[in-house]
């Protein structure tokens, strides 16, 4: 994903993100997914963790970053025809990339920091024909059964499903580690399998900008806000409190 703190550039013609002009970074919410996968593999010897990434060639940097945490390998799906893919097209391609893999768990962040549609985990699960446990803040695995705490507005729900499953995680699930120097060096030599649409058997006209079922009509900068009013409190608290309360009345909040 493009760095949240960086200036975003949108192509004026097709409204896609100009990825050549945005620094690619590992999506923050996916760091928790990587950390959880590492913790599972530490508890369960023999676990193999593969990173899966769909993106342009320069996403290789992001894949190597993911590998530097100590993952075993990666699949990178790159194809010029993928540019502009929406959530459903993305989920479809990810599912195609997984069709030849024997997996027990697909784990990912609950949202990307750019589009934030929150659609991909459930869509991927549907394409794969497996159950999904989404918005997970705690995960246990025993005998092939996944027990998850799904974050709700007021607490959590304990939900259980037999694998294989898709799990999407929220920040509360763990505290991610930092890659070690050894991990960073090792990541350079780890295998990254390159796949294009032909290899996955996905028709190029069913993904990308023109093949996606949704499209962007126009993009505009948010209208600038008028400068607000500022009151400097005198240290008593009363001056600021009264001015703000008056303003809330003026705005018909109270």
């Amino acid at each position: 994903v493009p760095d949240t703190a960086a200036d975003k550039h949108v192509d004026p013609d097709d409204h896609t993100v100009d990825r050549d002009r945005s620094d690619p970074v590992l999506n923050a919410n996916d760091e928790w997914a990587i950390e959880e996968a590492l913790r599972i593999s530490e508890r369960t010897p023999g676990t193999e963790i593969i990173a899966l990434c769909m993106g342009p060639e320069q996403a290789q940097t992001t894949v190597r970053k993911a590998l530097s945490y100590g993952l075993d390998g990666a699949i990178q799906v790159t194809d010029a025809a993928l540019s502009g893919s929406d959530a459903a097209a993305t989920a479809r391609v990810l599912a195609a990339a997984l069709s030849d893999e024997q997996f027990d768990l697909v784990i990912m962040g609950n949202q990307s920091s750019d589009a934030r549609t929150m659609l991909v985990p459930a869509m991927l699960a549907e394409y794969l024909g497996v159950p999904a446990l989404t918005y997970v803040k705690h995960l246990e695995i025993e005998g092939g059964v996944f027990t998850a705490h799904r974050e709700t507005a007021t607490g959590h729900a304990v939900v259980r499903a037999r694998g294989p499953v898709v799990v999407s995680v929220v920040e509360a699930i763990n505290e991610p580690r930092y890659p070690t120097f050894k991990g960073i060096m090792a990541a350079k030599k780890k295998p990254v399998a390159q796949r294009d649409l032909a290899a996955l058997g996905v028709p190029p006209d069913e993904v990308g900008l023109d093949g996606s079922r949704t499209h962007v009509l126009d993009v505009s900068p948010r209208p600038p806000k008028e400068a607000g009013r500022t009151v400097v409190d005198d240290g008593s608290g009363q001056v600021g409190a009264e001015a703000l309360a008056d303003w809330l009345v003026e705005q018909k909040i109270i």
Partner: protein
């Protein structure tokens, strides 16, 4: 003639505010408004949706909806779409409801747009407006012709208003339940008490606290402020990371995106990652002792001062003016 189906979020028949807002928005867009309500108690709340313009409500009261996540509702939604003949679906952009819409969209070849804050209709195409890149830009988007259109609506984008319609016709759906939808079993639901406060993503007012609160105890002050305004409590990532408040209240790039009528940030500096979760709020108030905090650049009203000094008299002044 266009029919719009509205997927209703409810609590044993009590329709949530966001679904009333969506029904209100739908009235201006389609000729016929249908609604779908699934889960225990759905029938209790169906007829009254007529007041918001729904002519027909498809209900399915089966307890499997609360016993298993997502997939029973996908089945039911497909049945409701078939029964109503609608190829436009509006749903609340709530995480769990979005899961249902997402899976259903894959099954029906629909295009999905989430978090719409405005909707217009152009011929028979719904055009959705949404904030992108954390609210830095506004995009208008649509589903391409030939595909069912599923649009998720953000809370508080519209104001709920009754239309004074007749009671809706209620149709019980016959939905087949088999093991294919009994895969993700809900074993237990654990509620943390948050008083009588509204859910953060539905609230018209949010009082949020950050690092400047100093400790978990500081959140009592934010809770009192929220209660004085009938609002919800939010928190910055610094505050949830420190364990001062539960993570589900985190506003920002890695947490929730909110757009209430009024957002009050106390002791929150307003880093870009936080602003990405709240800068589309209608009114923004900041209380911070650092006059250079970036949050002041987007605030409609700023108080430069010590929040521990300002908020207690602020609560008093609010209560005085309410009385």
């Amino acid at each position: 003639m266009s029919t719009i189906l509205v997927l209703i979020d409810h609590e044993t028949g009590a329709t949530k505010k966001i679904s009333k807002q969506i029904l209100t928005a739908a009235r201006g867009l389609g000729d016929e408004i249908h609604a779908a309500m699934f889960g225990p108690g759905a029938s209790n709340g169906a007829e009254v949706l007529g007041a918001f313009g729904a002519s027909t409500v498809y209900v399915w009261n089966d307890e499997v909806v609360t016993a298993y996540a997502t997939e029973p509702q996908v089945r039911a939604l497909e049945a409701a779409l078939d029964a109503s003949g609608a190829d436009m679906l509006l749903f609340p952009s709530d995480p769990f409801v979005t899961d249902v819409a997402a899976r259903t969209a894959v099954r029906r070849g629909a295009g999905v747009i989430t978090d719409a804050v405005d909707l217009t209709v152009d011929g028979d195409v719904l055009v959705a407006t949404k904030a992108i890149f954390g609210g830095d830009m506004i995009s208008r988007c649509a589903v391409r012709p030939g595909h069912p259109q599923f649009i998720g609506i953000k809370a508080n984008a519209f104001t709920a208003e009754e239309a004074g319609g007749q009671p809706a016709k209620v149709v019980e759906l016959d939905v087949e339940v088999d093991d294919a939808v009994r895969r993700a079993e809900v074993v237990e639901v654990v509620e943390q008490s948050s008083g009588d406060r509204p859910e953060m993503t539905e609230a018209s007012v949010i009082a949020a606290g950050g690092r400047g609160l100093g400790d978990a105890e500081g959140f009592r002050l934010i809770e009192q402020l929220a209660d004085a305004l009938g609002g919800a409590v939010g928190a910055s990532r610094a505050a949830t990371d420190a364990g001062w408040y539960p993570h589900q209240h985190q506003i920002g790039q890695t947490g929730k995106t909110v757009a209430p009528q009024l957002y009050i940030g106390a002791g929150i500096s307003g880093a870009i990652q936080h602003r990405a979760g709240m800068q589309t709020s209608q009114l923004i108030v900041a209380v911070n002792k650092d006059a250079d905090a970036p949050i002041f650049s987007i605030a409609d009203f700023g108080v430069v001062g010590d929040l521990h000094k300002v908020i207690p008299p602020l609560i008093e002044e609010i209560n005085k003016r309410k009385g």
